[in-house]
Amino acid sequence: MENKKLHDGIAEIKKIKMTSLEKGRILENVLNFSLPDKKPVYSPWMTYSFVSILKQKQLVYFIIVPLILVLTSGGVVFASQESLPNSPLYPIKVNIVEPIEAVLSFSPESKAKFESNLATKRMLEAETLANQGNLNKTNEKKINDLLEKHTLALNKAINETRKTKSNENVDEIITNFQAGMNAHARVLDYIVVKEDKAVISNENNQISNTARVSAGNIRINSKNKEFNKGNKGNSESDKYTKRKDAIQSLITKTADEIGHTSSVDSPVKQKIIDDTNKTLDEAKNYLNEADVKVKEGNSKDAYSSLLDSESSIKEANIFLKTGLKFKDSNNGWKGNHKED
């Protein structure tokens, strides 16, 4: 680039400059500029925006957040309803959801029914776990502890109920609980035994033992109080006759169900039906005993036998339905009783 003309041309171009006035004016304009406060430019549609209304009114903190909490916790609660002891949601169900429900049962009678239902639920959970082959010692202990807890709560609620309600209501709760516990204990025993053996193991599991003991305790605790109260409205014979008719009706219904049971295709099914028939016979025997005692004039013992009969027939009914349900739904039980 030694060309003189080129150098001269470039030098000429470089002479193009601003005047001092222009230079000073631009500098002044630039230096007088200050950064504007960066306020967001709001859209004219914000008036109609739900989100912006929430932000402006700060409703987001008072409505949306609690709503999310409620929905989330609601979802967890809903999901925990069907959880089993081997599920992470199970502690939420038994330690939070159920105690809250229990608090909402105001009358002692409804509380007693609620506790009885919870005990039945525990038995069903144990049956389901056993059927899946997941009933290990840890789960067994969990259910067992809860079962004992429910029994204690039920006993307390029954004592409370006796103070306000007639014995008939209490007896109903007791027989239902007793029948449920005994029936489910038997079903559980069947499930934990392998189908091919088709016999009940001599070593009953802890849960079924607790269920039987709980059922017995409730019955014994209430036996002494059964006939001392409750004659306020109805006469003794009316009460007896009414209950006896109900039991007779249940016996007939259960016998019909056994008769209508579809073909017996496995030893387990046959065993269930045989056992149901035995329990049905027990119920009939208790009923006959009650009649005899009535004739002897021993109305208290007669009523006690009547309740035994009622409990037996209900047990037979539950055992038949639950036993066949587990059998049919799985086409044979897995029967794996896991050890930890």
């Binding site: 060309n3 470039i10 000429e12 171009i13 193009i16 601003m18 500098l27 630039v30 500029f33």
Partner: protein
């Protein structure tokens, strides 16, 4: 803190404002418009300095902004003047054809002639040659301003110089 920034800015302004103005003027061919773009360019620098943004090369930064502002100006101009677009084709380049501008540039014959010849260069070589020989920018800075690699900038400078010498007839002159 702001006083320091202001002092630095004034130093930069003093040393670069004429070059930026010249760069803008020879491209937009309108003195008032060139002043506006120059002001806008330095305003951007001032804003960046106030926001404590890191600027590695002030010269390259200023020329890059000016280059983009000129392109924006041409786009806006074209959008409202179809006739102008039809007459000028794409970017006008270094065309001080406007009578008012020409008179204000007050270039003597050599400068006028060289600017015309630079304007006749192919578009890819025009800017590198101008920035290298008129504004004394390095190939690295030219590459940054035009958004090309340093190597590509060097190649375009060399090719542009050969083209310029050929077009201007400087090859025949004594060295």
């Amino acid at each position: 803190m702001k006083a320091e920034i202001k002092q630095t800015f004034e130093e930069i302004y003093e040393s670069e404002s004429d070059a930026i103005f010249r760069f803008c003027l020879v491209r937009v061919s309108n003195r008032e418009q060139a002043l506006d773009i120059t002001q806008e360019t330095f305003l951007r620098l001032w804003q960046s300095m106030l926001q404590n943004k890191e600027i590695l090369n002030n010269r390259a930064f200023l020329f890059t902004i000016a280059h983009r502002l000129v392109i924006d100006w041409y786009r806006k101009k074209k959008s409202f003047s179809l006739d102008s677009m039809l007459n000028h084709g794409e970017e006008d380049g270094y065309d001080p054809s406007d009578e008012m501008t020409t008179s204000r540039l007050e270039l003597v014959a050599e400068g006028r002639y060289l600017l015309d010849k630079i304007n006749e260069l192919s578009p890819s070589n025009r800017h590198p040659v101008y920035l290298r020989y008129v504004e004394d920018l390095s190939p690295v800075e030219i590459g940054k301003i035009l958004g090309i690699s340093t190597n590509a900038a060097s190649v375009r400078i060399n090719r542009g110089l050969l083209e310029l010498r050929k077009k201007a007839g400087y090859n025949d002159d004594n060295k």
